[in-house]
C-alpha cells in the first residue's frame, strides 16, 4: 500500500506533503515514515494517508475575469493621488 506522508515541521505550522512510503499496514507505515521523515527530529507531527483515500482535484474553469475577488484587482494609486491633491487644494483655499 502507498501511504502519502504529510509532515509538520514545528507546532503551529501547516502539515505539508513530504513524500510517500510503501507499507503493508498503518503500523509499518508509521515506523518507516518516522524514520524517513523524522529521524533527525525534523518533524513534530506526521499524517499518513493511504493514497487511495486522497481525493484529487485538478480541473478549474477560468473563463471570466475574477480579479474583483483579489487584491490584484484593485489599483488605487491614481485615484488616491487625485484625492490627496484635491484635499490639499481645498485646505489651501
Amino acid at each position: 500500500m502507498i501511504w502519502e506522508v504529510f509532515r509538520q515541521e514545528r507546532r503551529g505550522q501547516p502539515f505539508e506533503h513530504a513524500g510517500s512510503v510503501v507499507a503493508p499496514d498503518a503500523e509499518f507505515a508509521e515506523a518507516w515514515a518516522r524514520e524517513q521523515y523524522g529521524r533527525r527530529g525534523e518533524s513534530v507531527g506526521l499524517w499518513l494517508v493511504p493514497r487511495d483515500a486522497i481525493h484529487d482535484v485538478e480541473d478549474w474553469a477560468d473563463e471570466f475575469d475574477l480579479k474583483y475577488r483579489r487584491v490584484d484587482g484593485y489599483s488605487i494609486k491614481a485615484r488616491l493621488k487625485e484625492a490627496r491633491e484635491r484635499a490639499a487644494t481645498a485646505r489651501a483655499r
Binding site: 513530504a18 513524500g19 510517500s20 512510503v21 510503501v22 503493508p24 509499518f28 524514520e35 524517513q36 529521524r39 484529487d56 485538478e58 480541473d59 478549474w60 474553469a61 477560468d62 475574477l66 483579489r70
Partner: protein, 303 residues
Amino acid sequence: MVAAVEIPRDEQAFLAYVQSGGQVEATDWMPDDYRAKLVKFIEMHGNSELMGVLPEREWILRAPTLQRKLALTAKVQDEVGHAQLIYRVVEDLGKPREQCLADLVDGRSKFHNVFHYPTKTWGDVGVIAWLVDAAAIISQKALLRCSYAPYARIMKKICWEESFHILHGRDVILAMVTGTPAQFELVQEALNRWWGPLMQFHGNPIPKDDDPMYVWRIKSQGNEEARQQFLEGYVPQIWELGLTVPDPKLRRSDDGVWEYTEPDWDELKHVVTGHGPKTEERLAFRRRFLDQEQWVRDALEAA
C-alpha cells in the same frame, strides 16, 4: 491567476514546455522517450545510492571511535534513505522497486563508477565522504531544477541531508592530516587511488545540447560544467592541507578553467558496464541476501 497548465500531448510542444522551465508531475502526459530516459536516469541514481552503502559498511564496523561510528552510520543511513525516496519516484513512473533491484543484481542496470572500486583504509572513508560526496552533491544541486517535479522535490531533501556528509568527511580528513605522519599518508594514498574515478565521475564532456538528459531538462547542467565546479571548489581545499593531486597537468588557467590530464573514458565505460574491480562481488553479496530474505517480503505481502 492562470488555469492549471495543460501539458500539450505532442512531443515537440512538450519539449518546448520543459525547455522553458515547465514542470511535469507523475500523472501528466509525457512522451515515451522522456519517461524512458527519466526512469533510466533516476533508477541509476537509486542504484548508486544503494551500491555506495556496501563499501562504507565495512568501515562502520571498524570505526575507531564511538563518535565516528555514529557519524558514519548516520551518513550511510541517509544514503539508504535516499535510495528509498528515489525508487519510490521510479515506481510512480511505472517501474516497481523489485524490478529495479532484480535488474541491478543481475547486471542489467548501471550505477556510478565510484562504487565499483574497493575501499582499503580509513583514509578512503574520509576521501569518500569529503570528495565523492562533494562530486555527487554538485550533480544533485543541478537536479533541483529537473523538469520532473517529483524528482526535483526529493532532491531538495537529499541535498539538505548530504550537507553534513561533506563536513563529516572533511572532519575525518582533518583529524588524520593533523595526526601522525602515518595517518597523513593514509589520506594521501587514498586520494591517489580515488583521483582517477573522481575525475571520471561526472561523465565524458559531451556537449550539453547533444546530451538527451539535458535536452529534456532532466539534467540542467553539462558534464564538463559539473567537473569544473568540482575542481574549482575542491582542489584548493585539497592543496591547502598539503596534499597533492596525482595529476601533473592539473592547473587553473588564467581564464579560470581547470586543465587536467584527459581521463580514461574507456575505463569509465568498462567499469559502469559492470566490469569494475568490485562489481561482481558486491552484486553477488546483495543478490545473496535479496534471495535469502525473499520470505520476509512475502510475509509482509500476505494480509
